[in-house]
Symmetry: C2
Amino acid sequence: MKKLINAPETVLSESLDGFAAAHADIVTLGAERKFVRRKTLKPGKVGLVSGGGAGHEPLHAGFVGLGMLDAACPGQIFTSPTPDQIAAAMNAVDTGAGCLLIVKNYEGDVMNFEMAAEMAEGKVLSVVVDDDVAVERSTYSTGRRGVAGTLVVEKLVGAAAEESRTIDELQALAKAVNSRTRSMGVALSSCTVPAAGTPTFTLADDEMELGVGIHGEPGRRRVKLETADAIAAELVGSIIRDLEPRRSHGCLLVVNGFGGTPSIELYLMVNAATRMLREHGIEVARFLTGNYVTSLEMAGCSITVTELDDEFIRLWDAPVHTGALHWGRV
Amino acid sequence: MKKLINAPETVLSESLDGFAAAHADIVTLGAERKFVRRKTLKPGKVGLVSGGGAGHEPLHAGFVGLGMLDAACPGQIFTSPTPDQIAAAMNAVDTGAGCLLIVKNYEGDVMNFEMAAEMAEGKVLSVVVDDDVAVERSTYSTGRRGVAGTLVVEKLVGAAAEESRTIDELQALAKAVNSRTRSMGVALSSCTVPAAGTPTFTLADDEMELGVGIHGEPGRRRVKLETADAIAAELVGSIIRDLEPRRSHGCLLVVNGFGGTPSIELYLMVNAATRMLREHGIEVARFLTGNYVTSLEMAGCSITVTELDDEFIRLWDAPVHTGALHWGRV
């Protein structure tokens, strides 16, 4: 195992300290590093709280800030945060309008966020994100997994929350965004959880895992490595068949790196995916390219497509000021 | 070789097409993809032009836009752009105030930018960036190499150029920034140039290359992998001994990933480097963390330190709106 770390057991805490120092204008770290919260809260705004296992950075702490999340709870690597952490985060950011929990569909996450909701003092609603079309059931999930579509939910709902919408309105929006969003990924290499010390799975020199999960869990099938165009065709095709977007609407295309694939390849995939979408009669109206929902140092990428309408475009373009996403006047 | 590509010879062109599509609000691609230029030029502003071999993305095209570069010329992977490309870029973005060329100190780049300067119609000055303290001479350079400090030069000079300073003032500023900036890197793995098909160098499972160059060229020494703290101490120590920053001034700390190292490790290095700097009596006033000057999918990182003063801080904080860096009101 070759990593820039001191010891497996302190990777998360040291990394969180670095993150909090680097973004001290935006976030503060909760006691015992239970959560990362927005430095300045907006009274009367619904608190948006997410979280999940570490190892997917910048998800979720990198999305805490104006226009996105109010708090994020990091579990240990690929491990759900505890109900205690999540409840502490909710209590820290609920200014009276309640908290909406944005939860990726993994059994541990769903259970712990539910338990936390029961512990909370204020009103709590939640939405479960399940955008991954690769498999209907996996190692860690009943039903589809939540992957990079989660950041789209966090961005659009985060923008809407800044407009002082009610918690019920925000939950309805979150469900609508999730229902218009689909993803699928491919792995070219495995990743190594520091505490394990060995790769989560193995791939031969000429193999890839199509439909891989963000913990390296199996996808649809292991096949010989193909060209970028063939991979893009498979991912985009699977997404489009499932999403059935209306031709008249543009889409958001997220080409998300899993951590070990460089920018030059991700933009090449943007080019390929844009062509594939156009062949399906769909134009890309908004793009996001980079490492946003990662699996440690795994090589590969996922493609996420969200069907846009005017409202979604307006919310996507709204200002965001977080560690990992920045745009617009704030 | 496992990459998301179609063919080695089309990697750059396909990636540039994806980049130009994804950032069509900011950039346009020059004819024959000779350069990436800012979509909207500001008449009377000095044109800032950089470039170099591809494989270091987002450097340089990702830094084209308001507050940074006017044009970037991508060579093939790890290959200098041609004088013809650079001259075409200068002619495209010179609105009458001349062009300042920002050149990393590699023999091919220096020669080709010099030849381009002789071909240009308007006034041309240049600055050579040589921030890498690792070695005094390397495979591709006479004198120190230019590495991630280049983005600091591009950011600060880019902000100053927006204030309509003269080309002579901007050249002086660029030299001043370069003189207050030092970097050093470490590789935990090699990278593979697509056209070569095999790794540029090899490291044993327990080895790292200290002082590695951004083309995978040798650094100071190959040693056993150490802890993040020991690596940070070596990199920061080498930088500080050379830079000799004044204690009273804060610094900018850039922890730059080489492409294959995930965010969780980079922020852990931020934490380690911040502690080391503090032990030297230096506080970090500004942070930048991420994959900015990469070596394809190489694992590892570099640390860059720039000694700040009030003017440098103001220029760093000034708005920037490019594919890879975004902040402030624009």
